[in-house]
């Protein structure tokens, strides 16, 4: 990994909102123009800091959804009713607004095509966001690393990036996308229809003997269930990388 490029302390900087995209009823993508953005690795995140008129500050981490090859930085944020930061980002933010951020952050939960595969990505809800950066990077660089995505959502309308994932899978370049819907399934649904469990993982993951690289992202309980099950199925714990969002993410 390009370690030298990552050296240097992080500082807060301002990004300008250039576009807002509604992904699902509760999820919005924020496209930012960040001057002197040093570039990122797929899987990295940024910290966003909001400051109220009285000086009170709140900050949260948000994963980068865009590929590094894209000039602009896309964050995709799920609005949480009780959140301190996400309701502002999802409901109030307008093009032209400035956001205080620092990043890119991370290196452990990062993948680029040079790391190879086979790649197994497991997402719970908005846990798809950093994994989408990996898949977009994989597509832009025309990587043929054998890859599988297992994506768990509540309902069909809650599937983030649904159409884009269909397009990516249709490229027939070695990516398979599996969806499971845990709460409600539309008529004629041909995907999975239950929470991710060991059986579902056994059906969708690469065989442990192929030494896959696995990235799991989502709410803490989801991530721990998946990671523990993968290890019990024989996957090497060190090749199962996790990013826990906590109970909410705020």
């Amino acid at each position: 990994m390009a370690r030298a490029a990552l050296l240097g302390r992080l500082n807060w900087t301002l990004g300008e909102v250039v576009e807002l995209i509604d992904e699902t009823p509760r999820v919005r993508s924020i496209v930012l123009d960040v001057p002197e953005w040093p570039g990122h690795l797929p899987g990295q995140h940024v910290d966003i800091r909001l400051t109220a008129a009285d000086g009170y500050q709140a900050q949260r981490s948000y994963s980068i959804a865009s590929a590094p090859e894209n000039d602009r930085v896309m964050l995709t944020v799920e609005g949480l009713p009780d959140g301190e930061v996400s309701p502002y980002l999802v409901d109030e933010l307008r093009p032209g607004d400035k956001l205080e951020l620092r990043g890119p952050i991370g290196g452990y939960f990062a993948w680029d095509a040079r790391l190879g595969g086979p790649l197994f990505l497991v997402a719970g809800g908005s846990g798809i966001v950093p994994l989408m950066s990996m898949l977009r990077h994989r597509a832009v660089t025309e990587s043929s690393v054998p890859s599988r995505l297992l994506n768990s959502s509540r309902t069909r309308q809650d599937i983030i990036f649904r159409e884009e994932l269909e397009h990516l899978a249709a490229r027939a370049d070695g990516l398979d996308v599996f969806h499971t819907l845990t709460r409600r399934q539309p008529d004629g649904w041909d995907g999975y229809a239950r929470r991710v469990d060991a059986q579902l993982l056994a059906e969708t993951a690469w065989p442990p003997a192929s030494m896959p690289l696995t990235y799991v992202c989502g709410p803490t309980s989801f991530v721990e269930t998946v990671a523990n099950a993968l290890v019990l199925l024989g996957h090497e714990a060190r090749r199962v990388k996790t990013e826990r969002f906590g109970p909410t993410g705020g």
Binding site: R3, L6, L7, G8, R9, L10, N11, H45, V46, D47, S61, R102, G103, I105, G106, G107, Y108, F109, T220, S221, E224, K241, T242, E243, R244, F245, G246, P247
Partner: protein, 86 residues
């Protein structure tokens, strides 16, 4: 809500440690003095809801680091860390 649900991981302290250290710290390897396990900091357990940030070993839950911030400066308590390698 139990502690286990509030747990995040070392990725969450990448930002604050990135302000302090020049190296990317979630990839840094840490040896736990409690159980001798060696893991990347990104894989360790992190609890953000305390007054400070507490980093615990993902195997034995020994406290590795406590990070607090006051008046714009940081204090890092190094607890059960045998070594840290970036």
């Amino acid at each position: 809500m139990g502690n286990a649900e509030l747990r995040v991981d070392g990725n969450a302290v990448g930002g604050v440690l990135g302000e302090i250290f020049v190296h990317e710290m979630t990839s840094a390897r840490v040896k736990c003095e409690g159980c001798s396990a060696i893991e990347p900091l990104g894989a360790e357990h992190v609890y953000m809801q305390a007054p400070g940030i507490v980093v615990r070993c993902c195997h034995c839950e020994s406290v590795l680091l406590v990070i607090t911030q006051r008046d714009g400066s940081y204090m890092i308590g190094f607890q059960q860390i045998a070594w840290l390698e970036t």
